[in-house]
């Protein structure tokens, strides 16, 4: 057996001894723990009527109320302050949202609204022009119809008046014939149409 083997055997033996000692120490500690005395439980009963028999209940109630009022006031103040802060923060937050987020949307909305407005204005302008043109056309047509109707009625009136005057003149002339006075007219007509008359007579 060489020296290495000897060292190993010695080391093994030492290890076994150490384990045995550890087991023993652990068992000793466990035994000590089981042997520790259990804690005592004391049962105390206090009678409030007996303890506070000599204290003024109304004063306590008043003090309690004062304390409660004070605490409530403080809590309310704090709550109010907190609420104000929250409102301010919320307002700032909303303002920020409006400035940052909604402004763009509003801008887009305004652009769209402006485009729609421009389109509507164009449509209305076109419609207005068509209406104006149609109105002008109708007005001219109506004027023309009125003028034609007026001319027609005036012509009819003139024609009737001419008939009346012609009839009267013819009847008047028929009763007052003076060929001597007409001879100038007769010879003027003959001279004026001499060539035609001559051509027809000699043909």
């Amino acid at each position: 057996m060489d020296s290495l083997q000897l060292v190993l055997v010695l080391g093994l033996i030492a290890l076994v001894v150490i384990n045995a000692v550890s087991l023993w120490w652990a068992m000793k500690l466990n035994h000590q723990l089981h042997e520790r005395p259990a804690p005592k439980v004391y049962e105390v009963k206090v009678d409030a009527g007996k303890v506070l028999a000599n204290v003024d209940m109304s004063e306590i109630e008043q003090l309690t109320k004062q304390q409660l009022t004070k605490v409530a006031g403080e809590a309310g103040a704090r709550f109010k302050e907190s609420l104000n802060n929250a409102v301010d923060n919320l307002s700032i937050h909303i303002s920020d949202m409006a400035n940052n987020s909604l402004a763009g949307e509003f801008e887009k909305y305004q652009v769209s609204l402006q485009a729609l407005r421009d389109q509507s204005i164009q449509e209305f302008s076109k419609l207005q022009k068509e209406l104006d043109a149609r109105r002008t056309q109708l007005t001219e047509h109506l004027d023309k119809i009125i003028q034609q109707e007026g001319e027609k009625r005036l012509g009819s009136l003139d024609e009737r008046m001419n008939d009346v005057v012609s009839s009267y003149l013819i009847e008047s002339l028929g009763n007052q014939v003076d060929l001597g006075a007409q001879s100038a007219y007769i010879f003027d007509m003959l001279h004026e149409h001499k060539d035609e008359i001559k051509r027809d007579i000699l043909s």
Partner: protein, 165 residues
């Protein structure tokens, strides 16, 4: 026609009916003149000219024919018959019958301006008011007052409007 019929018609002889009547009278006149001449030769008396109307006398005068020239009268008959058959005829309608002077003036105008043998007939139409209607052949020229009034009726309203303004 003028060369073939070198005879002038009197202005009082304006219508075909008058010309026919003159021809008939002229034939009778010529016959009477022949009988008178025969009787005068037999009796050795002077031949007197038969009675003739004023129209026939004016025809003698205008034509330059001697009223006792038998051959000249025969020739005149033939000339008048030729005129009756060939002369142009014009029909005039007036509001009243023209008097002798107007008829002569009208006849003179037609014979000077249209044809020297133009014959005219006259008729009345009271409804034309004045002026005349001339019918030559198949063509009618209406220059009556009635026609002028009816064809220029619009002038009445024009005149009325101009006067009103």
């Amino acid at each position: 026609m003028t060369d073939a019929l070198p005879v002038r018609l009197p202005l009082d002889l304006y219508s075909p009916e008058q010309l026919s009547a003159v021809i008939i009278e002229l034939r009778a006149y010529t016959g009477l003149l022949r009988d008178t001449n025969v009787r005068a030769r037999a009796t050795h008396a002077t031949a007197a000219a038969p009675h003739a109307s004023a129209l026939l006398l004016s025809a003698f005068h205008e034509s330059g024919t001697d009223s006792i020239d038998q051959p000249g009268l025969e020739k005149l008959i033939k000339q008048f018959e030729a005129i009756r058959d060939k002369a142009p005829s014009v029909h005039l309608m007036m509001a009243a019958l023209p008097n002798r002077d107007l008829k002569r003036t009208l006849t003179e105008w037609f014979r000077a301006e249209v044809n020297p043998y133009t014959l005219l007939t006259f008729a009345t139409r009271a409804d034309i008011g004045g002026g005349f209607i001339l019918q030559a052949g198949s063509h009618v020229y209406n220059y009556s007052f009635r026609e002028q009034l009816l064809s220029h009726k619009n002038r009445i309203s024009e005149i009325y409007n101009s006067v009103r303004q």
